[in-house]
Amino acid sequence: MKKRKKSNIENSLSPDENSGTEIRSVKSSSGKENSEEPIAEKKVAAQAANVKGQRVSIAAKTKQRIAKSQQAKHPGTSICFYFQVHQPFRLRNYQFHEIGSNHFYEHYNLNLEILNKVADKCYLPANEKLLELIGKHKENFKVAFSISGCALEQFELYRPDVIKSFQKLAATNNVEFLSETYYHSLSFIYSKKEFDRQVELHSKKIKSLFNFEPKVFRFTELVFNNELAKHVASLGYGGMLCEGADKLLKGRTPNHVFRAAEVENFSLLLKNYSLSDDIAFRFSNRDWDGWPLTADKFAKWLHDHAANSETINLFMDYETFGEHQWEETGIFEFLDSLPEVVLDHPDFRFRTPSEVIQLYPARDIYDVPEYSSWADEQRDLSAWTENEMQREAIEKIYSLEKLVKESSNEDLMKVWGKLQTSDHYYYMSTKFWADGDVHKYFSPFISPYEACVFYMNVISDFEISVREHLKKDIA
């Protein structure tokens, strides 16, 4: 891990090389002009220095002043947190003999149970913690969320208190909501029309619940390629989030704003997977040489990048807090202390993706001809589309597009959307199954084969429903 961080530093561009670069003008979520930003930043920096000044030695103060004067024109380093919130509508063990007669597909009890568990262990306590931190650090602490439509619908159905809690966060204006496909789907790959429909649906939902218009996009599982960037730019977004994959960075640091290869003025924020995964995956791993990970230690790792990083993008599942990493691991204490120790460094601020995009020019091109994602070592689509059953399932569901849209039946459209959720295909992945090791297989089903059997049974019935509906219409 450490080695990779070092090489990132070595390979990154020094700020001096780029000091003459103009900050690009991009669409801003708040509508503010970009030119205002550096001034605001300076003020904030000065405030932070004052607060901190009481605790640092004179020598350190001098050092800081020198550093500050050197970087006077530079907005320092941003820590950009983005948390993914998603819960699929999991399917039940739908039997073949129900095909044609039972149109209820979801595992109501399981979905309710999981939602309750995650709401209580993660969403509510983590939101409360963030609210507290925003109250404490004001403008200096900001985060972004991407919440799928499936998750929002389930909150509305079963846990409206979670919606309220997110609304409180939204009201602070320190939280950005990102745009994604409503059903957390891979639709862009199979139907651009359906992709557009879901993006719009999601934006409307975010607007109605949080009075927020998303300006930055992220696609399911950080799936990305040049073509997608071009398309998303054409929808009016200023930038999007993606994985900082080694094979694509080729030794470059992910800690700058990049731009997409085939489109002008479209910024990309790349996940620093090493630092992100330190929190998301390794936090409680006692075999990891970084364990135990304290806020001080992690802040130091971040500060080590100060000289040559403009933004460190920490992207992760929100369920990291309290669900993937249990409360007992100390993850909430970590979150609680982190902003303060990170902000101890005068050049560090927490900023939202929109702010980062406005603040820094793109330093380089991130050229991604083939699809990449944030999943597994391969960082590609193989977790969803590698085997024959996944491909058959996906092809089948998108082959129904014409029929479903012909029906123009709201309910059928909704069901069709929910069946596009990428999790269904993930459960069918045999990448970590081939040797029969169930411990590596995370799914509500006992095997990828069961996941396939029940999904295929469901869409067999769904197809019948759609066809029957169309017949009725004609009649």
Partner: protein
């Protein structure tokens, strides 16, 4: 010692070219793979002189004659007992005839006909077992060996007697158990023979973990001395008989006895067939429940969905494997289930019972408890209707099969050989020390 091959005296029952069940092919597969690691002699009741194996001396007791005058068993040529290179010039000059004094309880005159019987089991199987035991017990006079490896209860008594007589370590191989064949509660003579064999053995080699668990729970044998040696399959050229009809064919292959789960087959058919008018079950095999099953199928109105083939010869088995769409094995208790490996080799999606040893090595087949016929029906429906599912299962099963080779099984057996010989040496050393 380090470079000398371990001399194994293997006691088998069913052996090619005379095959009835799964015991013969499994004994043969293991022997063939062990032949390159060991010096192997295989004693079976009946052998065909035309059937030869590289590096394995096959000794068929049916080739012994009985000399009433001298009460001796006579084998025409001692070379049967010895590896070619071991035959000394002196021996070559002597008469090749081998004579063994025989005074067993089974009359010497009857031996030849008993061992030549076409049916390896039959009604007088107990008599045959006794005769086999009495003859095998004499063989140490002519055969040099380091250890005894006995396959299934039929040969255990012979193994135990030889061990008592010679002090050589005994390993018993468990291909199936009376508690599988009859019921978990059975305590008949066969059970007692199995119990004695496993108790006296230095190591017990069952064909699966599943069988190991049965041995522990039904025979109370110390699990510490039980080491599974999985059955395997040789790589083979497979073919596919193209069909143009739209029938969906499911193959049930095996004896139609309680153990093979005909009851679960019927239940599954009753659940699946109403939803799939074009499904047809090919039921290949005979057994004590065949007639009953046929009647039940008829009573359930499923005649159109079933084809009873009766006993099928090898060629017909291959033909079936090449032409059906899925393989179904709902066994109530299956120590291994070699036919599932064969079906997998023929690129068939397999739906098999969890109460089987083969389910431990095939990770990409669909498995359910034998009694969970809802699930079995659901799985069969899926493999017959969802092409992607079948393709993934078959592709990954092909990978699994690469690791299910007799060479691997032979290595496992060899580990146990080495272990029991080392243990024996240790004991001998301790005695010398005293």
């Amino acid at each position: 010692m380090a470079f000398e091959k371990i001399k194994v005296l293997m006691l088998g029952w069913e052996f090619p070219p005379f095959l009835t069940g799964g015991l013969g092919p499994a004994t043969y597969g293991l022997a063939k793979a062990l032949a390159s690691f060991t010096d192997l002699k295989m004693v079976v009741p009946k052998s065909d002189q035309n059937f030869r194996m590289k590096n394995v001396n096959i000794i068929g007791l049916n080739h012994f004659d009985f000399d009433e005058d001298s009460n001796e068993l006579v084998l025409p040529d001692f070379k049967w007992f010895l590896s070619e290179e071991k035959i000394t010039d002196e021996q070559k000059e002597k008469s090749p005839e081998v004579r063994l004094k025989y005074d067993g309880e089974v009359s010497g005159n009857k031996l030849k006909s008993l061992f030549s019987d076409a049916d390896s089991y039959g009604l007088d199987v107990m008599k045959k077992v006794q005769a086999y035991t009495e003859v095998v017990e004499l063989l140490d006079e002519f055969i040099e060996f380091d250890l005894i490896h006995a396959h299934d209860w039929l040969t255990y008594q012979a193994g135990v007697r030889l061990k008592e007589k010679t002090g050589k370590p005994l390993l018993v191989h468990v291909h199936s158990l009376e508690t599988d064949r009859v019921s978990a509660e059975v305590r008949d003579d066969v059970y007692k023979i199995e119990l004695e064999g496993m108790t006296e053995a230095d190591r017990v080699l069952p064909v699966s973990e599943y069988t190991k668990n049965s041995i522990v729970s039904n025979y109370k044998i110390d699990p510490e001395k039980i080491f599974p040696v999985y059955n395997a399959i040789d790589a083979a050229e497979v073919f596919r008989a193209e069909r143009t009809d739209d029938e969906k064919r499911v193959l049930f292959l095996g004896r139609i006895t309680r153990q093979k789960g005909p009851k679960f087959l019927l239940e599954t058919m009753m659940k699946l067939c109403p939803s799939m008018p074009n499904v047809k079950f090919y039921i290949a095999g005979t057994g004590d429940l065949a007639v009953a099953l046929q009647e039940q199928v008829a009573n359930a109105g499923l005649n159109e969905h079933a084809e009873f083939t009766g006993y099928v010869k090898r060629e017909k088995v291959l033909e079936l494997l090449a032409s059906v769409d899925a393989f179904f094995m709902p066994s109530a208790s299956e120590p291994f289930g070699l036919s599932a490996l064969e079906a997998a080799q023929f690129n068939l999606p397999c739906v098999i019972s969890k109460q089987s040893g083969v389910s431990e090595v095939l990770h990409n087949v669909l498995k359910a408890d034998c009694w969970d016929t809802d699930k079995m029906a659901n799985y069969l429906y899926a493999v017959l209707n969802y092409k992607g599912l079948t393709e993934t299962m078959v592709r990954l099963t092909t990978n699994d099969l690469k690791n299910i080779r007799w060479d691997n099984s032979a290595r496992e057996a060899l580990k146990s050989y080495k272990h029991v010989l080392q243990e024996k040496e240790k004991v001998a050393e301790e005695k010398t020390d005293l």
